[in-house]
């Protein structure tokens, strides 16, 4: 049993020592907004925040982050108020199929926390998520819009 703190709630999960955080979140805690895309830390669909930093949850064992503050896409909004990145994503109609977007949004939210007014170069460096629909043009526009939002 390990204790995970996800979106402010504590969960006791029964997983073996190698189970990635991604699958503990999805299958034990039951939060499926965090996606599996590759399992090898390439695509970023599984991105969550650990103590505010964006981490690819498919490639970190759940036990390693026991007790740390984990935030998933389901916990990004404050109650009914969407995070400014989520709102910008809606305003700019970023998602197409949407499968990669949880990870994309979590990466963008972490970027804006670190760099409130990111340049294009900052975005290029921080946003390494794969999107096969090709929403990058809207992703960039939405990040700049979210940066402008108070």
């Amino acid at each position: 049993m390990i204790r995970l703190t996800i979106n402010g709630k504590t969960h006791e999960v029964d997983v073996d020592s190698n189970t990635p955080l991604l699958w503990a979140i999805r299958e034990q805690v039951g939060l499926t907004g965090t996606k599996y895309g590759c399992g090898v830390a390439q695509c970023g669909a599984c991105t969550v925040h650990i103590d505010g930093l964006p981490i690819r949850s498919c490639s970190i064992p759940a036990r390693v982050v026991a007790g740390r503050k984990i935030t998933t896409i389901e916990g990004l909004a404050s109650g009914n108020t969407l995070h400014k990145v989520q709102q910008a994503w809606i305003d700019h109609e970023v998602p197409q199929c949407g499968y990669c977007q949880s990870g994309m949004i979590m990466a963008a939210a972490a970027l804006l926390k670190e760099k409130p007014k990111p340049t294009d170069a900052d975005i290029d460096e921080a946003m390494t998520n794969i999107c096969r629909c090709g929403t990058f043009q809207e992703v960039r526009a939405a990040i700049h819009a979210a940066a402008k939002a108070a």
Binding site: E27, T32, T34, I73, P95, C97, G98, Q101, G134, Q137
Partner: protein, 728 residues
Amino acid sequence: MILNPKISRRSFIAGTAAVGGGLALGLQLPFGPTVVRAADGSPEIGVWVVIRPDDTVVIRVVRSEMGQGTITGLAQLVAEELECDWSKVVTEYPTPGESVKRKRAWGDFSTGGSRGIRTSHEYVRKGGAAARMMLVQAAANQWGVPASECAAANSIVTHGPSMRRVSYGKVAEAAARLQPPKDVKLKDPKEWKVIGKPMKRLDTRDKVNGKQVYGFDLKLPGMLNAAIKECPVFGGKVKSFDVARVASLKGVRKVVQVGDSAVAVVADTWWQAKTALEQLPVVWDEGPNAKVSSASIAEILKAGLDAEQAFVGNQAGNAKQALAGAAKKIEAVYAYPFQNHVCMEPMNATARYTADKCEVWVPTQDGEASFAAVLAASGLPADKCEVYKINLGGGFGRRGAFQDYVTQAILIAKQMPGTPVKLLWSREEDMVQGRYHPVMQCKLVGGFDAANNLTGLHMRLSGQSILAAVRPAILEQQKGRDPLTFQGVADGGEHSIGYSFPNLLVDHAMRNTHVPPGFWRGVNINQNAVFIECFMDELAEAAGQDPVEFRRKYMAKYPRNLAVLNAVAEGIGWSKPAPAGTFRGVAQMKAFNSYVAAACEISVQGGNKVKVHRIVAATDCGYAVNPAQIERQVSGSFVYGLSALFMQECTVKDGRIQQENFNTYQSMRIAQMPKVETIIVEGGGDVWGGIGEPTICVAAPAVLNAFYKATGKRIRTVPLKNHGIELV
């Protein structure tokens, strides 16, 4: 005002019979049909529309949403004619089983070939119009006034003379009892208020908060999870596997053979199933295909370039004779590799089987194809089968004609009757069990007379036929020929060539491989656009002419191809020099009845680091139903197309695909994304074009042509990573 129409002269109006009086009479028959109700009890107003008492408008969509925006676009088409309040619109998928029961009341479910809107716009608009007419008639009946004095707008019927008003929700029950009108007139496009507008997508919110349920996310009571491994050599079989080695691992419930070629582990969680499967010793009978390699396939294709026998796809004049007598000839050989779709959501399906019912939940591009797979794999009759469609995490052609994952899920579930089993493929399984972009080589020979006029062109394709593997019946009708191979260079139809050459021969030496081919977004236009559009630049150079000017000489009979070419030439500023250090290329093509062109500006550092700064893309799809979504599909198409050009090849060694994940099969990131400017040309006409696929094919040739301008190097084989060239 709408229900007393003048007969329009315009050809896009469906049905030539008069409407109005006869219709009203029909609607007033005292005994209408039985009301059909949606699951919540709300009445259907025809098969496409359900109106709830609270005025919610439910629009039925049978094409699948996989990111392309089709549910929003199709809803716009219905809503336009329905005259409903867009803010009250929601959509729902009828099930394939329901469709079978109702004699395919909603038509074709297939969502491929960029056909969602272009092949159903007429009947879904008619569905909306018929529902509006029934709602108006119901209101008129309630007031005892002629329907011709009533009008509908924003989900309200108004009686003009008395200014009485009633909402759709209030008259829906009465409308549902009316006979649907037989003759339905559609609006003139000039009257459109919802079609052609950048309406917000209906499915965005749940995609930003994690609530959207994909097939991967499905949860059913008592559900178990399965991981699968199929013989990595296509055509190979399971010889044996050692259940005892994993049976006692935590969570493992069952280890099963799936068909004759795969093994699955069923466990409490998918992670347990996957890790157990990795530890399961499996012996394969790999068969003779284990000897095949990329090199051996390439040799077979190469021989086809000069083979005597070939299927003719397009012929004008006598190209061989013209080439024999040419004053100057140029020749080039191109090649295009196997590629995987790599949907972000790997293949999956969830099945529950009992002797009385087989149900499948699946992200599918074709609910009817899934349904057929359920029937075949379960052995149950249609009335005991059902498919529940789930929105897809990408499709790109992998999830339509091919339902292998559905079959597998059922074959597993049949071994555990009553237990829902969710089968998820790992990314590795997804990579090595694809239905790959066909492999193709192409030899092009062009001949000129002494005055540098092009006198003949021979384009010899050699490679794999998709239809031979997927739709062999079509080949039988065609005496062995695969007509799809000629997409983009055909002599007519939705993929016709956009040039008139005095002597032309396009032919195909079919060389099939054991690697299963599939419909990869854009299908055969991808390689054909590289072949013809790069060679057009080679011909232009041989003739000492500008690539755009050279193309224009042969496009007089193709004004819509020419219009998009001119649009991108103007957009990129072709008549003026490119910005210092940048170089330009263009390409154009007709595909899926749309006309597309791209012009790009690139720079190249160190001879191999390519930066694509800017792409101007033009699309003439006839009518632009949702321009905002078209822009997104077009800019996204360059991610798909440029990833394929620079990074993607599935190679074969020992009969199996070598690339197993994104680390060896890369895809573009945001840093590599060019600025895309989309020009939408609305050419109108009777035939509507598609959006999801056409633009992809012009990405690669436009960039390859620019790369030549920048470096003097013609690159004729894809992907560019094999030449040490990278996208930065």
